[in-house]
C-alpha cells in the first residue's frame, strides 16, 4: 500500500485528477489513456473509443437492450478502455424542466450529485439523479432529472463486465448544455433576446424558448423514438409561435438517428433554423469536455 502510494507520487499519478472526478474534463482526466464512450438508447447502444492521443477510434452500433448488448461486447469494450473507464450517455427515462431561483455557486454542481436535497429542497425526488444548467444572465435554470434505477442498473451491468463508468450523463442534456455554453459564453453578447434552441438526441427532444432575454419555456420528451418527427413538430410548433417572427432558431442534434435528424431539420429550415451540429458532436462533448 505504501509502495503504491510512493509509486503514485513518483509517477505524478497522485497529482492527476481521479478517474471519476466530475469537476475535471474527461480529456484531462484520461490524458494519454484509452477510454470508451457509450451512448445508450432505449433499443440501441453505440460506442466509440478514444485513443491515447485523444483521437476517436472506430466504434460500433448494436440493436437491443443494453443489458443484453453489454455482455456480448464486453471483450471489445475492455480492449478500448485502459483500466476499463468509460463514459455513459443515457437517452431515455429522464425529464428536463425549467426552474427559477435555484441555488448557485461553485460547489452547487457537486452538492447536487452528493446531496441533491440540499440544492433542490422540496423539489427533490428520492428516485432521481439530477444535473443542472444555469442561465448565465438570469435566475432561470434547466434541471435534468433522470431515473436513478436506470442509472444504477446501467452501472451494475457495466461493473459485471469489468467496465467502470467514470461519468454517467444524458446525451440530450449534454447537447443542450453545450449549445447554451456556445451561445452564451463562447459567443458572448451575440445571443438575441428572443430565440429558440431545439436539441435532439437518440429519439429525445428538448425545446427551450427565450423571450426578452429570459428562459420562458422548456419542453422535453424522452424516448420518442427515431420515427416521431410529427410528434416532435407538434412539440416545437406552438413554441415557435411564442417568439416574434424572424427570431433565430438554433438546432443541435447528434446520435444514431440520422434520418430523424435530417427530416426534422428539413422542417426547421423553413423557419430559418441554423444547425449548430458538428461531426461527432456528442462524442466530442462527452469524451473531451
Amino acid at each position: 500500500m505504501l509502495l503504491d502510494e510512493i509509486k503514485s507520487v513518483l509517477s505524478f499519478a497522485a497529482f492527476k485528477p481521479e478517474a471519476d472526478d466530475a469537476s475535471v474534463s474527461w480529456s484531462r482526466r484520461f490524458e494519454g489513456r484509452k477510454t470508451l464512450l457509450l451512448n445508450v438508447g432505449r433499443n440501441q447502444t453505440s460506442w466509440r473509443g478514444i485513443s491515447k492521443k485523444g483521437r476517436f477510434d472506430d466504434g460500433g452500433v448494436m440493436e437491443g437492450e443494453f443489458a443484453d448488448i453489454a455482455p456480448q461486447r464486453a471483450d471489445e469494450w475492455r480492449l478500448l478502455a485502459d483500466g476499463g473507464w468509460c463514459v455513459v450517455s443515457v437517452n431515455n427515462r429522464f425529464i428536463v424542466s425549467l426552474e427559477n431561483n435555484m441555488m448557485r455557486g461553485e460547489n452547487c454542481v457537486n452538492l447536487l450529485r452528493t446531496n441533491p436535497r440540499a440544492v433542490l429542497g422540496p423539489k427533490f425526488d428520492r428516485g432521481k439523479r439530477y444535473a443542472i444548467c444555469h442561465h448565465p444572465e438570469s435566475s432561470a435554470s434547466m434541471l435534468l432529472a433522470c431515473e436513478e434505477s436506470m442509472v444504477k442498473v446501467t452501472e451494475d451491468v457495466l461493473k459485471t463486465i469489468g467496465i467502470r463508468p467514470g461519468r454517467v450523463c444524458c446525451g440530450l442534456f449534454a447537447l443542450t448544455e453545450y449549445a447554451i455554453h456556445q451561445l452564451y459564453v463562447a459567443q458572448r453578447g451575440a445571443v438575441p433576446a428572443n430565440m429558440i434552441l431545439i436539441s435532439a438526441c437518440e429519439g429525445s427532444i428538448a425545446v427551450l424558448v427565450q423571450q426578452d432575454g429570459q428562459w420562458k419555456e422548456l419542453r422535453c420528451r424522452s424516448g420518442l423514438g427515431p420515427d416521431a418527427v410529427e410528434t416532435s413538430l407538434q412539440i416545437i410548433s406552438p413554441l415557435v409561435q411564442k417568439v416574434p417572427q424572424g427570431s433565430p432558431v438554433y438546432f443541435v442534434s447528434d446520435g444514431q438517428d440520422a434520418k430523424f435528424r435530417s427530416e426534422l431539420f428539413m422542417h426547421l429550415e423553413r423557419i430559418g433554423a441554423s444547425d449548430m451540429t458538428q461531426e461527432d458532436l456528442l462524442w466530442n462533448i462527452i469524451g473531451n469536455h
Binding site: S11, A14, D20, S23, A131, G166, C170
Partner: protein, 183 residues
C-alpha cells in the same frame, strides 16, 4: 460558466482520496533531480578516476624514464668525476714536475759578485708538489740581496710565501715557500 465540463450524475464513490496539491510536485521533482545529479556526479567522478588512473600510468612511465636518464647521467658524471680526478692528479704531477734549474740559475745570477751563497736547498712539498720550500744562506750580504732574490723569483712567476730571514753575523738565513702563480 467558464470552461464547459459535461454534467455527471453517476453514483458517487466513497473511497476516493483527495489529490495532493500541485506544490507537492516538488517532492518527485527533487527526487528525480537528485537522481540525475547523482548520476551526473558519479559519471563525472568515474571519468575523472579513469583519467587519473591513465595520468598515474603516464606519470609512472615518465618517472621511470627520468630515473633511467638520471641513472645514466649519474653514471656519466661518475665517469667524468673519475676522469677529472685522474686529470687533477696528472695536473698535480705536471705542476710538481716543473724544472727547478731556472730558479737556481735566476737566484745565482741575482747575487752580486762580492756576495756568496754558502748554502741553498729547494725541496718540493709532499702535499703540494708545486710548492717549493726554499732555504739559503748568504755570506756578506744584506737585506738588499734578499730583495734581489725575491724579485728574481717573482720574474719566474713564483711568489714568496711566508718568507723568514735571520742574520747571524755576516750570514743571512732566508727561508720561504715558493708558490707558483698562474698567469
Amino acid at each position: 460558466m467558464t470552461d464547459y465540463i459535461c454534467h455527471d450524475f453517476k453514483t458517487p464513490r466513497n473511497d476516493t482520496s483527495k489529490r495532493l496539491p500541485n506544490s507537492f510536485k516538488l517532492v518527485p521533482l527533487a527526487f528525480y533531480l537528485s537522481l540525475i545529479g547523482g548520476a551526473y556526479f558519479m559519471t563525472m567522478d568515474w571519468l575523472a578516476y579513469k583519467r587519473a588512473q591513465q595520468d598515474k600510468i603516464t606519470a609512472e612511465a615518465v618517472t621511470k624514464e627520468h630515473e633511467k636518464v638520471t641513472k645514466e647521467m649519474m653514471d656519466e658524471k661518475a665517469a667524468l668525476d673519475s676522469e677529472t680526478a685522474k686529470a687533477e692528479n696528472v695536473a698535480k704531477w705536471v705542476e710538481g714536475a716543473r724544472n727547478l734549474q731556472p730558479i737556481i740559475v735566476s737566484i745565482a745570477r741575482a747575487m752580486p759578485a762580492e756576495v756568496r751563497l754558502s748554502d741553498m736547498t729547494i725541496e718540493r712539498s709532499e702535499q703540494v708538489p708545486s710548492n717549493l720550500s726554499l732555504a739559503l744562506r748568504i755570506n756578506g750580504g744584506s737585506a738588499t740581496e734578499v730583495g734581489l732574490i725575491e724579485s728574481s723569483i717573482s720574474r719566474l712567476n713564483y711568489r714568496s710565501y711566508s718568507p723568514q730571514q735571520s742574520k747571524n753575523g755576516d750570514i743571512i738565513e732566508y727561508r720561504s715557500t715558493l708558490v707558483r702563480q698562474e698567469q
